[in-house]
Amino acid sequence: MDIDLDGDEDFDSGGSKLTCPGEPLTSAQDYMRGHGTYVENEEVIASVAGTIERVNKLVTVRAVRTRYNAEVGDLVVGRITEVQPRRWKVDANSRQDAVLMLSSVNLPGGVQRRKLESDELQMRTFFEEGDLLVAEVQAFFGDGSMSLHTRSLRYGKLRNGQLVVVPPILVCRLKSHFITLPCGVDLILGLNGYIWVSKHVKQSDREGEEGFDAEAVYSNQNDAIDDFTRIAISHVTNIIRALATRFIPLSDTILLKAYEWIVEQGSDVKDLLQEDIGDALVAGITAIG
């Protein structure tokens, strides 16, 4: 493909080609325009700053930093912003607030239970404004906003931990976004860049005896967390912060490696926020590989 990029190619790294808004990429007759481009005067022109990618005849430009672009089946972490009739509005770092329908959540009393009028009246007992939850993208509405669902035992309200926000592009797609680190910390890597770091809960506890523990799912009470776990949680969040500010993509292996490096160095939780230690961490994990 003859993508012409005049001048300063010095910043090119790893063969990826960079472009800026308003730069012509190629002829519109030979190629199709994808995301991040538009066509004017028979030319495909970039509309965002980022890397040019090509799949057969489709040319797209992927912006480095952007809001989360959802896909069906993605796992996201979100925060309730509003309670509306039969639905919650959820901030999920997307272009618009996502929607969680009352009909897309599991209610206490069994998975198959019908939603009653009384459930509509007590929606705040399930999720309230400010609550954090983990959910899956179910579908899209006509205007592009997404609909979420929590109809799985793994989804639902989040407790026992803290939230870290990173640019969505840094969260790699993994086999599983529920990660358990050996230090007794559970991680939920939301593809929208919201990451939940919490105390490890045993698989059997989560599912409960009958497969569904109604009280626990919507509980607002944190479990008892010991000091060691608390420190571990802080460690992991600071690792994520340090990596994110240096724009390192996050995956289970990298986080594990980073945690091991930190333990090896024996550094304190707050040390990680220092510039030099953070740089050393990045240098450390890139070297290990």
């Binding site: 790893g14 308003g22 952007t66 618009q96 724009f247 390192i248 994990i285």
Partner: protein
């Protein structure tokens, strides 16, 4: 108006030692500021402006949502320490409101708002230092911040100020020069060479205007080059940071990166 300071001396130098067509130093910092989706600080000589862009995100006020495109909201605030004489400007100041309206209408046709229906793009402009060419700096910084937020734009916009001292045109005026001579701010789209914004507030003969206007259009392209290089540098840096780990950390991540 006559000033004590010579705007352009016989040797062809201006009060700060520049030539007629010389631009001031431009520094661009595109590092992340707080939780903003995109941000940029641009410095033209002693004028410094910080712009943070939030969004596209859910509109704060439901009445502001447009069903077919994004709503752009611009707020300008001028730091009271930005001028030599400390002065507090209220938010309702007409000059500030006008500047916000100007920035908004400059970027409304540039941002592909139809891609973001029912959302809102907030642009917060904070003037940190002012020494002439304020609107120019605001527009350039907004452009950079929008680009770093990954918002779809039809074209680049770069703005520059020009002035005319008796018959000699000059570029990129300082506050001192702005007070004394007629000045024009022009914003151009370098790819098409079209002009989106022109403002002029002082008396100037039509023929002189034509001269400075054409000159400013050319200068806009130079500024575009600087801004483009800064965006490329920033994007390149982020991308190489992302690749540094994935390439070293074994094949597994590599695969995932490509998939993404």
């Amino acid at each position: 108006m006559s000033s004590r300071i010579e705007i352009l001396n016989e040797g062809g130098f201006r009060s700060d030692g520049r030539r007629q067509y010389e631009l001031r130093d431009i520094t661009i910092d595109m590092s992340q500021q707080g939780t903003a989706d995109g941000s940029a600080i641009i410095t033209h000589g002693l004028t410094q402006v910080l712009v943070s862009v939030f969004g596209p995100r859910e509109a704060k006020m439901r009445s502001q949502t447009l069903y077919d495109r994004a709503n752009i909201n611009v707020e300008v605030s001028i730091a009271s320490f930005s001028t030599g004489e400390r002065r507090k400007r209220s938010r309702g100041d007409k000059r500030i409101l006008e500047m916000a309206a100007t920035i908004k209408s400059t970027f409304e046709p540039v941002v592909q708002t139809n891609l973001y229906p029912r959302s809102q793009i907030d642009i917060f402009v904070q003037v940190l230092q002012q020494d002439g060419g304020l609107l120019q700096a605001c527009i350039n910084a907004t452009m950079l911040a929008l680009a770093s937020a990954g918002i779809s734009l039809l074209d680049f916009v770069s703005a520059v100020t020009g002035g005319v001292h008796s018959t000699s045109p000059m570029l990129d005026l300082t506050a001192l020069e702005e007070n004394d001579i007629p000045h024009v701010t022009v914003a151009v789209m370098p790819r098409t060479g079209k002009v989106t914004l022109i403002t002029m507030e002082t008396r100037l003969h039509v023929d002189r205007f034509e001269e400075i206007f054409k000159l400013a259009c050319e200068a806009g392209k130079v500024i575009h080059g600087e801004m483009r290089a800064a965006i490329r540098l920033r994007t390149g840096m982020l991308i190489s940071a992302m690749q540094s780990v994935s390439q070293n950390a074994g094949e597994k991540e590599d695969e995932q990166m490509y998939e993404y």
